[in-house]
Symmetry: C2
Subunit: 198 residues, 2 copies
């Protein structure tokens, strides 16, 4: 009888990944308040003992999940950015891509963490720097995608406004998803933006 030998390190990594994924899923489905460690371990198919072994406290798990989520967000955004087609409707397509990203489950999870962090200093300490980093990266990426010239006065503010706009649209989408309304707004903004940037 051959016993399958799985190295400890890999087992450990897989277990941690499953727990973090389950955490994000719970965040999306139940919200931060409804995300209990018991629920996470059940969903991950991991015993509570194993869970507590890898993440001694709930906060440790959530913080790890935040970092995990940040990477997922970055990767998804980069992938979506690469898929935006070139052409006459470049700006519109870029905005639509951003709008979709900020209405996706990863954004929803981030929103839950964001709101929870407001009244949880330990969580805030973990969330804030990561959010700042991803914010800067997103800004830089958007400038590049739009081919905007940030040396021009006001351009930087317009890009920031665009990102805050999609954030606001994403917030609205978590309650009542209205894709048509969103696209109409973004289309108009694309025209206005094109004019302002040229």
């Amino acid at each position: 009888m051959t016993t399958v030998r799985v190295p400890q390190e890999e087992r450990s990594r897989a277990m941690r990944a499953r727990l973090m994924d389950a955490t994000i899923e719970c965040l999306v489905e139940r919200g931060f308040g409804g995300t209990s460690t018991t629920l996470i371990s059940e969903r991950a198919g991991v015993s509570r003992g194993a869970q507590l072994h890898h993440f001694p406290t709930k906060n440790a798990l959530v913080v790890a999940a935040v970092e995990h989520l940040t990477e997922v967000r970055g990767a998804e955004l980069a992938a979506a950015a690469a898929a935006v087609p070139d052409g006459p409707h470049r700006t519109r397509d870029v905005l639509r891509m951003l709008g979709e990203h900020f209405a996706s489950p990863v954004f929803t999870a981030a929103l839950e963490l964001w709101v929870a962090a407001r009244t949880d200093s330990a969580l805030l300490a973990a969330v804030a720097p990561l959010e700042q980093r991803i914010g800067r990266e997103t800004h830089r990426m958007t400038v590049e995608l739009l081919g905007a010239d940030e040396t021009q006065p006001g351009v930087r503010q317009l890009v920031q406004a665009t990102l805050d706009l999609v954030r606001g649209l994403g917030l609205a989408a978590t309650i009542s998803d209205d894709t048509r309304r969103r696209n109409g707004i973004l289309e108009q903004w694309a025209d206005t933006l094109d004019e302002a940037l040229s």
Copy 2:
């Protein structure tokens, strides 16, 4: 000895108001997750018995608080709107006013309720129609404040974009309040908007 006679109806109203106010305060200070009925009654200076008498369940109290908050939001917004000065910087001042409103505690409380409502159908049923109403009112008010002509194509979308923008800015403000950044963005937006609307 003269006994002070307070009518039941007024006592009841005052008690309910105190409980609803305390609920909103807890929402802002502790977040939805940290808002327990015990905490609310303590903060309101009301016994748990009295609380349960006026609001049989936590949901009943929260829903009442939502309605209460909606009225407060409407009133605050109307008051702020009336205070916007006329003049050459009208658009900028209107946006600044909106930006401030969407960064105020009432917005923070509303945000907590939105996010909580996403994963709480009972709460969603109470929040959704009220939010829709206040959204429509805010839109109408903004159109009037800006003197925009909604019969022109794209104008409606630009106003919606403006409101979604301030919502996004408000969300950002709950974590890291950066008034300067916000005003810079809004100022640029005002210029762009003025040009697009004329």
